[in-house]
Each structure stands twice: as C-alpha cells, then as structure tokens.
Amino acid sequence: MAAERRRGMIRALAAPLTLLGALSVLASGPAQAADPILQTEESDILKLQPGGPHRILVEDGVYRHSKDGRVYVVDTDSGKLLGMVQAAYNANVAADPAGRTFYVAETTWERGNRGKRHDMLVAYDPLTLEPTMDIDLPSRALVTPKKADLGVSADGHYVYVYDTSPTNSVHVVDTAKKAVVQTVDVPGCALVYPWGPSGFSSICGDGSLANVSLDASGKPSVTHSAPFFVPDRDPVFEHSPKIAASGHVWFVSFSGLVYDAVLGTDVRIGKPWSLQEAAGLKPASDARAPFDVTWRPGGWQLAAVRARDSHLFVLMHNGTFWTHKEPGTEVWEVDLKTRKLVRRIRLAAPSTLVGITQDAASRVFVTDEAGDLIVLDGTTGKTVRPIRKLGESLIFTVAPGE
C-alpha cells in the first residue's frame, strides 16, 4: 500500500524502513555509519492500491448495536481487513458497477436517539475511503438491510434509494449532480432491482412487478407486469440474485421455485422450475402444506449467481415451510441453464449469507454466528480460509462487477 500525504503536518516517509528491516541491520553486525537504527517515524494514512476481484465489501449490521453498523473492505486472499466506513442504523451499501465508488445509505439522529433525523447517501472513494459525496435524502426505508433497498444503474449514473415513509417510493440520485433529481412513487410495491442505465423494477404486493423507466430528464414512466406468483402462498425472496448489467434476476421462492426474469419495460418471466427437482428430489410444498419437511432455501443473502457460467449458489436447509430465514447448512450449486444440481457444499456451520466473486478463480463466501467470514473455492467448494471474527452480524457481501 502506498502512503499518501493527507494533511500538511503529516509527511509520509519517502522510503520507510520497516522495524524488522532496521533490526536485521542491527543484528547483522555493527551498523554502517549512515544507517539510522530504529528510526523515528511519522504518522501517515494508508491509501489502498486498486484491488483485484477478491477485494469485497461486507456489510456488518451489528444487530445488537445497529447505530454502529459498518462496511468492511476485505482482501479475501490475505484475509485482511483493509479498512471500514460507517454504515449507521440499518444502512445499505451498493457499488458502482465499474468499481469507481461505493455508496452507503444510512440514518442518524442528531442526539443519538432523539433530535433531527438525517437520512444520508454517502459516496466513498474505494482507495482512500474518504467521502466524495455526502448528501441528505428526503428519507429512506428503515428495515433490516437488504441489498434491494439500494441500487445503482448499470452505468453508475443513478442511485436508487427505496423509501417507505410516508409512502412507498424510490428516490433517484443523480451522482453527477449529487442530488435527488426525482422521487418515483411505487404504491403497493417495494424494493429496487435496477436494469440498464435508467430503469428499475419493484415487486408488488399482488405478485406483479412495477417497471420504472426514466427519460433523459429523469421523468419516470411505469409499466406493470401481470402477477406471476402468489405472495401468501409462496413469495419470492427479496435477496433473489441478479446481474445488474443485464437486468437478469432469478426470483427464488420460499418453496424453492426459480423464476427466470429479464427486467425491462416489458419484463419477461420464465416458467418456474424447482431447485429440489434440479437435485432429483420432489418439488417442495408451499404454505398450503407447511408441515412437509424437505430441503428448502433460506437465510438472508441466500443466493448468488456467477454470471460467466450461470451457476446459482443457494443456501439450503432441511425444514418445514415458514423456515425461510433459517441459515443454510449446505450451499447448492445449480446450473441455471441445464437446471441441474452441480454440487452440494456442506458447510462447517450454518450460514445466513452466500456471496460470490465473478472472476475465473471465483470465491464463495459464507458466514456463521460468530461473525466469521469463510472463504470457499468457487470451483471445488473447499474452504480456502476462514476470516475469524471479521464482525458481528455479517448481512451481505458486495463483490466487484456483480
């Protein structure tokens, strides 16, 4: 990492000697006349070098103390924490698809638990972790954080912030203007699944989608799909995985059905198929037969897609219906094209989270109750390294280009 000058009074050492380097000089015999030993040091601030595909963001909701939520920047190759930024009170984080910045939506009250409320959208330089934008939002949805509460357009121009107060709406932030340029009402619908440079869809309470398209001036027009699922009977997970660039979402239902959807003004949704059938089991029951015990999807960020080979990684556990938040004891790797199970990865400890990197040597991430982040090999499913006690409530991961 390169040291960088940040404050006039702090000068980076031009060629800093490490202590061990200095000591080895000392240990190897009489020091040379010009060599400093255990040179005095100056304080500096590290700046990150651009990261590879395995540098990820991890949101820690710190459920017991959610004022103090945070986003960790983690090098999953070395297992090192590279830095962190505040993500206060059911905050959310999303990355610019090109990796130029990442955004944190967060909330504070001026006197902690009282006083004026601030809902903020902050953009961070991913190398200095300094804010490059710090604006107030009209409001935002306060809910245990889900990725689909915050989205970035494919070209990074717009950030979409889901809001529930007073009405269901989406605030559109123009990242060039650093301002909210539009608030789109989505009555009866929720969440943000971006598609293309200026569109997003929301899921509606009747099982349909609302599809919002913004014109050049930011003015929205809305289309509605027909309902494609029955929320009371077998709702789709909010953390259904997507590929932002293509607007491709695989909606996974509580029972384990997969709806292959390509979002847009005219959304296309495929006929659902069963994860359990892909694994050679019977399809699972829905709410109409809640006692049936079988393998079912569940957790929080319960699924991730690797775009290059269209493989789905989904957390599964053995249980009845209405266990959709139970952590997974296995990750099932499923080929979305052939609709066949590739591998069942048994986890050492149940996980509420599965994440993935998009590169050739992809990594899969899971967590556990202790706040560990476990790095698995995306090809073999074997553990590469555990990162112990990274945080407390690891909610979701954001990997480059996902």
Binding site: R64, V143, S165, C204, P231, K325
Partner: protein
Amino acid sequence: MASPETGRGATGRQDGFDRVAERLTRRLAGRSSRRSALARLGAWAAAIPAFPLLPVWRGEARAAAPVTPAPSPFAAKAQVKDDTKCDYWRYCAIDGNLCTTCGGGVHSCPPGTRPSPTSWIGTCFNPQDRRSYLIAYRDCCGQDSCNEENCLGTDGDLPTYRPQANNDIIWCFGTGSLLYNCSTAVIVGTAE
C-alpha cells in the same frame, strides 16, 4: 411469462389472515378519527389498525368454538406459560427483543420508550384454547436495542412487498426517533 396462480382468498391459513386484515382495514376506514394522521404513513401502513378494534367477547367466541389442529410448525411446539421465552405462543411471527425481558410486558413498552401506532400482524395459534388470534407486533421505540431475549418467529412472515406481514421493518413510524428497543405481541382479534 409464467401463468400466475391467482387463488387469493381460496383456501389456507394465509388467506384467512388476509380476509381478517381486510376486515380490519374496512373498520379502520369507517371508524378511525386518526385517518388523516395514518394517511401520512402511507397506504400500506394505514391497513394496520393503530389500536384494538376487535374486542373478542365470550358470546362471540363461544359461537365459533373451533377445536382445530395446530396450523403451523411453530404452533405445534408453542407454550402458553412463559412470555419471556421465544416459544411462547404469541411470538409465532416476532422478530427482535421480547419487551417482557426489557422492562416492559407482553403488551406494554418499557419506561422511556413508546409503542408504535403501526405494526406488523401475525396469526398465532393458542394451544390452550386451540384458537388462532391476530397478534400485532408493536415495536417499542426511542431507545437502543435492549438485547435481552431475542427471538425470530417466521410463521406467516412475508417479504417487505407485503409489509403488513413483514417483521424486518422497523415498526416505529410516528414515535419520534425510529430507534428500535423491543417488540410486544398484542392480541387484536381472533383469526377465525
């Protein structure tokens, strides 16, 4: 495009829940003097009654007199004696700290906090009288998370696109700051 099933209102427990929720909504619309205040909280928030509207009187209850099997896995294991434990029958869809362990009660907020006028609704089965009740999970707000007994019930818990049945939302609208301290489980009616 898949051909969606459109069987709402046909069969099953959730549908029963829906009917009651709609009934609550209608009553609220007809009766409440707080409509304008609630309207500010958004269309879906207004679907939830702010305070009990369905007193269950003995006569009415006896008229129904159902003896049903436990309708969910949670209900099949629930107990009725200790409201400081996660398996207490009313907590079938709770998510968070039990106010009974935070200085409050099963329908009471701890001192220094405020109950949310809005809430999510669960339908819980009481294994003692073998009836199902509508339970409003009203969050107590204004202090930080109390972190004593923490429970997660997911019976009938739906995603936030069905907010009235979602337990992830910070149900603290209209309470000053929306800081979440604990959750109560208030009987607001029968689900028959």
